[in-house]
Symmetry: C2
Subunit: 360 residues, 2 copies
């Protein structure tokens, strides 16, 4: 058990945006909302998964939608509490703790708002080990946990409780509601026992985010390579150095979709890397050949600062370094790849681990 | 209080399809499902609105979506009970009775399924006095009753409870869910006290449907004009006699939209009537001039039998008579016209009552 205060959130948000692989929302907005909640209600108690009682009731809270929209339609922090309380009331049982749905700039910090405002602990874990665009892409789901009953709420005061026959149907109905709500909404879902948190979630995500954020900050203060620490922590690979020459972006079926084209510099001069994204980066193609693909992590950072860049921030002229890192091993199982592998996202590619592609 | 049995449903479904003004679903399917439920569970007790206790809890049950889809995706009767029971469980109170959301082929008979299967009475009333395409178009809403909490369910087992800040938002979120569910779903909404049923609903709709259906049947048996009785009961007007020469139809944003073109015969020879519909007929234009418009009722019947034809059945070659009749007077108020007048549906027309247009 530890206490997370306002000052801890800067490192945490940076690390979360790295793991967000381009998605998971803007780290600045999530941080500001969480800081405000902690200033008003005091520091948040963060529990390791091992510290949660087996019969506790734990519910992840998150933002759903297109991060591009969130930049213009900033959440107040009320709607995520509305969603959480709607689910608690529907379940008819007090929720013991909240936790993170995914690692990502916004979704790693939003649950702090819920924890601070409701005075409940936050479990240091998440359901993806990175960010993914759809609700069924969660390790508890892979292990048979149902996403529903799920609550969804918007900033206007509209809310819904959804019960579905599968987590894919949860995604479909919640996405339709999110689009109607203006392409962003707040959600509470995958209600779990403490036992299920231990068995099916990815543990220590917040600590990992803080570690990455701190390492980047310290490297910069020491005028050392600001990218090396991220690679070290994530067992990652430097895939490409270059300059963004084109970003094509559209908000489609409630997602921020598009692709970015990067022209190589230094050792990569003469080559081109194309990144394709759906909220998150899904495939990196170097001169047409895949060098990393979902579910592995593809991360874009500023070459000179090591700071993560979300897909919605990517623009012409940025000097960036593209990194790849292995995903949680559960995602590389046949069942995991069926949920989040390249073919699910429409790419005619068999999954090859980033470390194999880098080796050869 | 009276008992409605299997044999009563034939007249009732015909009359309901007349009031459905082209929408409200197919009368045959609704009747078959209701008959099956009554055969299994016994006759349904129908109450007049005046017989309902002021503190009773009454909830209309209905089908939502494009009737065109319902013809191919026939409901089992289970999903409407699922929706109704989901709302009852959410309200945490036993629902005393169900009632009809609208008058229409399917939606006048679907509530019999709920009443028969759950052993509760059915209140003889509805919220439109006809069929309309959207959820906020209900007289209780006009009087300030909220459509939510609302339950929605599909045939696969998916369901949701929706709470919104306005009845227009209920329509938006429920429509998005309906589209995702395959363009048809079952709903329970506008939970009301008995007092509200008395004050805000349109009374005696089922009796009126039966009266119309019986009058058509008896006129045909007597080889009399089968259209005159409908006109007499509804204080209606014969607008046009003709042959359907073209029907353009599309399922768009979850509705059956389109227009039908009718070439005049007899006294109407040489003229053309165009009907524009969104599930229901909304405007009738004779040689470009409006002869009836929403919220007044525009009904298409077979010229030789007086039988109602829904928009999805309309096709080339049908010999039809188009009728107009005044809507419930509440719809002609400024507030009513804001909800269901021609401008709401996108027509650049000021509402003129059908009886004035017929006189002029």
């Amino acid at each position: 058990m530890r206490r997370v205060d306002v000052d801890d959130l800067d490192d945490l948000a940076i690390g979360a945006a790295v793991l967000g692989t381009g998605g998971g929302g803007d780290p600045t907005i999530g941080k500001l909302i969480a800081k405000e909640a902690i200033r008003q209600h005091g520091p948040v108690t963060v529990l390791d998964a091992s510290e949660v009682d087996d019969d506790a009731l734990v519910v992840p809270s998150a933002m759903m939608g297109a991060p591009t929209v969130m930049l213009e339609k900033i959440p107040s922090g009320d709607e995520i509490v509305t969603a959480f309380e709607a689910l608690q009331s529907y379940l008819g049982r007090e929720i013991t703790a909240t936790t993170s749905a995914e690692a990502g700039g916004l979704n790693s910090t939003m649950p702090f708002t819920v924890a601070a405002r409701l005075g409940i602990p936050l479990v240091d874990a998440d359901m993806m080990g990175r960010a993914f665009p759809e609700l069924q892409m969660c390790t508890p789901g892979l292990a048979g946990v149902k996403a529903t009953p799920m609550a969804i709420a918007d900033e206007k005061g509209n809310a819904a409780i959804i019960e579905t026959v599968s987590n894919l149907w949860t995604e479909r109905l919640a996405r339709a509601a999110t689009i109607e709500m203006g392409c962003s909404a707040m959600i509470a879902l995958y209600a779990m026992s403490g036992r299920q948190v231990k068995d099916t979630m990815i543990h220590g995500t917040l600590a990992l985010c803080q570690e990455i954020g701190r390492a980047i900050r310290e490297a910069r203060a020491a005028h050392a390579d600001p990218i090396a620490p991220t690679l070290a922590v994530l067992a990652g690979h430097r895939l490409f150095d270059g300059k963004v020459v084109d970003v094509e972006r559209r908000t489609q079926t409630g997602f921020a979709r598009g692709e970015a084209r990067i022209e190589g510099v230094g050792d990569d001069a003469g080559a081109t890397l194309v990144l394709q994204f759906q909220n998150e980066h899904l495939v990196a193609l170097r001169d047409g050949r895949a060098v990393a693909m979902a579910p592995d992590l593809i991360m874009v950072v500023e070459s000179d600062t090591g700071a993560p860049i979300t897909t919605e921030e990517l623009r012409y002229g940025f000097r960036v370094t593209v990194l790849g890192a292995p995903c949680d091993p559960r995602w590389r199982s046949p069942e995991g790849l069926a949920l989040v592998g390249p073919r699910y996202f429409g790419y005619d590619l068999d999954f090859v681990p980033v470390e194999e592609l880098a080796a050869g």
